[in-house]
Amino acid sequence: MLAYILRRAAQSVLVLLVVGLIAFSMFRFIGDPIDNMLGQEAQQEDIDRLRTELGLDAPLLVQYVRFLSSAVQGDFGVSYGQGRPVADILAERAPATLELALVSGTLAISFGIVFGVFTAIRRNGFAAQAIMSLSLIGVSLPTFLIGILLIYVFSVELGWLPSFGRGETVELGWWTTGFATRSGLLALILPSITLGLYQMTLIMRLVRSEMLEVLRQDYIRFARARGLRTRTVYFRHALVNTLVPVTTVIGLQLGSIIAFGIVTETVFQWPGLGLLFVNAIQFVDIPVMAAYLMLISVMFVLINLFVDVLYFFIDPRLRVDRSEASA
């Protein structure tokens, strides 16, 4: 078990190094940050001097090694666009992204499971059919379009909800939260629906098909034959057995909710990490892009590692097979 985790951890470090190298070689195609940092009256000597000062004249591998060696010491450099340490900026933006991910993740999971169970149980009912058809929208419409549609309906036409931003926030130490104020809560509604809709439909469809599968099993028939209450059959026996694959998918989707909030954050000008990353691309802010990509890949690697380890505990067959093989 320990050897397995160690091996997985070593693989993860390798993955991180490769991701970083790929990211660094991509930066050259994103463009040249110098023109954004100097005005139009800058001369060639200014350009050359700045390039040397930033270390951009060094070969790619040298730049990458420099980045890694300071990143290991917790120094992610200074943002070209803001002239502040990247670590500070990331820490400042993280709460917005995490709160949004938390709310939309909770929405997606709770509504996804409820609708999934409902459409499985009443699968020929009108309401279930309607939900299934509507869920096609969630799967097929791009996030960008959903966001703009929601803004036009609820902000521009009805004027109920703010069209952008995070509302009023309250500071709790280094964390800023939008949960404590009315405007902060209102501001969360549209972005979290936009971000969570796809995940919700995904979870709903997964729960539904798993439920339908489980409900055909013999032990459900026996449970019914024993005269158990319908509710017990559905929720104690059927639902719990669908949750093994659902948990795995939810775990993996959690990563993408954080990482791919980029589009939602851009549409709603949500002051989180995704918006920071988009702005960094426009400005060719290499230190910010590098730190963000490393952060996201660390997160994905950790989640994958966690899910892999989780399999050991969730699925008894994995453990049995291994112990037999080693015996």
Binding site: F29, Q82, G83, F164
Partner: protein, 521 residues
């Protein structure tokens, strides 16, 4: 937004209604620094014009008017300029303003680390005569010097030194990157880079307030659709710019006004004058036709500028005849006519130049620098095709574009130029002079256009005190550039601002948003 909550709570306590003078606006770019000498770019200087002040400033019609200097006069026969400073001015932190701050700001803004130092290349020295008089000596007579320093902002010496910000630092940042202490009508009370900046009136401001703003908040919104929605829903009172395709729709909305004007920026086509051979398409390696003025004139006749303006710019721009717009000082009235759209003339010129069957070449174009830039280039490609020349368009983000141009990777390219000094001399220096790194000339003349007469006239124009003689030379330069068609000026880029109908404001052609001209009704 924390402060809003407090302000609203306060109003509720006092039993009044919502604060009418609260003003919010959005733009696409956040100023990357609050240091007025660290970055010479329009988003930074435009924003800081509300916070810092220079010796002189520009009025609603772009004319130079007194700010921290009350008057100025030339010294002797063009030795320099003497500025009388305004007395009784205080910085936001309460410190008094005097000649020492001007001297400090000169050293700060012209030093090695400053991005603004090109403004001071004509300056030999700055001398303090008395606490409210300074002399700026120039290397040569310089008639437009006061015009050229409207964005040179004065920083308090004591404040900068006490906070270890005596020199700007754009790589690492320093105290002045995030904090500001100017003499302007507004002070910065909160700053979260990339998210929001809050301004409040400076109580000790020397001027008479024309505005009725008690608090203003700026939020950068990059996504145009989000900005339009924010304006329509009233979450912001003003956005700049309005996407051109949305201008008509917004104008028809009773809650919103669209303010249109003409910017200082001229959009033009440039050529690889120096390149002996074409670099792109099947004709790569063949002699470069654009070295022939007739071919360049043919291009000018082939491009249907009115059609571009009508379809792509939706009637929001004006055609351009020269490198500066009519609003600039030194604009040449004598050369106000631009080549007519005439495909037959273009074909005749091409035949005369030895290309009756046309040729093909590569056109480079940015796709996120100017309004609808890529669409304009596509239009140019199809119009040139009608005259028999085939352009292969390569459009790219501006971050990749300038490096390509600097590497000479083009046969023809699109460029926009806004003269920082609002004077016709500016594009001559940057776009039309033979490139010379030592003399700092022609640094944006990517094609390497060279004309001995223009090179000869430029230093004379720069030091000519007599306006009539100066204009005569500017006219001559404009005529040469038009005859040789060194660049093909297409149009002057429009300014399209969107504002709630209860707000009044003034739009300045340099696209600077001046908060002290805003009234919320």
């Amino acid at each position: 937004m924390r402060q809003i909550g407090m302000a609203t709570a306060l109003c509720a306590l006092m039993g009044t209604h919502a604060v009418a003078e609260e003003f919010k606006w959005a733009g696409t770019t956040d100023p990357q620094t609050l240091d007025p000498h660290a970055v010479n770019s329009a988003p930074v200087l435009g924003f800081l014009n509300n916070v810092y002040e220079g010796l002189v400033r520009r009025g609603k019609d772009m004319t130079i008017e007194p700010a921290l200097a009350t008057s100025w006069e030339p010294i002797g026969e063009g030795e320099g300029w003497r500025f009388k400073l305004r007395e009784g001015v205080t910085f936001h932190d309460g410190a008094a303003f005097d000649a020492e701050d001007v001297q400090f700001s000169y050293e700060r803004a012209s030093g090695e680390a400053a991005d603004t130092r090109s403004w001071f290349s004509p300056v030999a020295s700055l001398e303090v005569v008395d606490p409210y008089t300074i002399d700026i000596k120039t290397n040569a007579p310089n008639p437009i010097f006061p015009d050229s320093i409207a964005n040179w902002m004065i920083v308090d010496k004591g404040w900068a030194e006490a906070n270890a910000a005596a020199t700007p630092n754009k790589e690492e940042g320093n105290f002045a990157t995030l904090n500001a202490n100017g003499t302007g009508a507004f002070k910065v009370t909160a700053r979260e880079p990339g998210l929001r900046t809050v301004l409040e009136p400076h109580d000790g401001w020397w001027g008479e307030a024309e505005h009725n703003i008690t608090r203003a908040e700026f939020t950068p919104i990059q996504n145009p659709a989000t900005a339009v929605a924010a304006l329509l829903s009233g979450d912001v009172d003003f956005i700049n710019p309005v996407p051109i395709q949305d201008a008509a729709r917004l104008a028809s909305n009773p809650d919103v006004n669209v303010i249109q004007g003409i910017e200082a920026r001229v959009i033009m086509l440039g050529f690889g004058h120096e390149a002996a051979e074409l670099k792109y398409t099947g004709d790569a390696g063949k002699p470069n036709p654009f070295q022939d003025a007739k071919v360049r004139q043919a291009v000018a006749h082939a491009v249907n500028v009115p059609a571009i303006l009508q379809t792509i710019m939706r009637g929001n721009a004006e055609p351009a005849s020269q490198l500066v717009s009519p609003a600039m000082r030194g604009y040449s009235e004598a050369n106000a006519a631009r080549p007519a759209y005439d495909v037959e003339a273009a074909k005749a010129l091409l035949a005369e130049a030895g290309y009756p069957d046309g040729f093909s070449f590569g056109l480079k174009c940015p796709n996120n620098r100017y309004l609808n830039d890529e669409a304009v280039c596509q239009g140019v490609v199809s119009m040139l095709a009608q005259a028999g020349i085939t352009a292969e368009l390569d459009a790219m983000p501006v971050q990749n574009y300038w490096p390509e141009l600097r590497e000479d990777n083009f046969d023809m390219y699109l460029l926009g130029w806004s003269p920082g000094t609002f004077d016709a001399e500016h594009p001559l220096r940057f776009l039309a002079s033979t490139p010379n790194a030592e003399k700092k000339l022609g640094s944006w003349n990517f094609g390497g256009y060279s004309n001995a007469r223009i090179d000869e006239m430029l230093p004379i124009i720069q030091s000519e005190i007599d306006d009539t003689k100066r204009q005569a030379m500017l006219d001559e330069a404009a005529e040469i550039l038009q005859d040789e068609m060194a660049y093909v000026p297409l149009y002057v880029q429009p300014l399209v601002w969107g504002v709630r109908s209860n707000v009044e404001m003034t739009q300045r052609p340099d696209n600077f948003f001046i908060l002290r001209w805003v009234t919320v009704n």
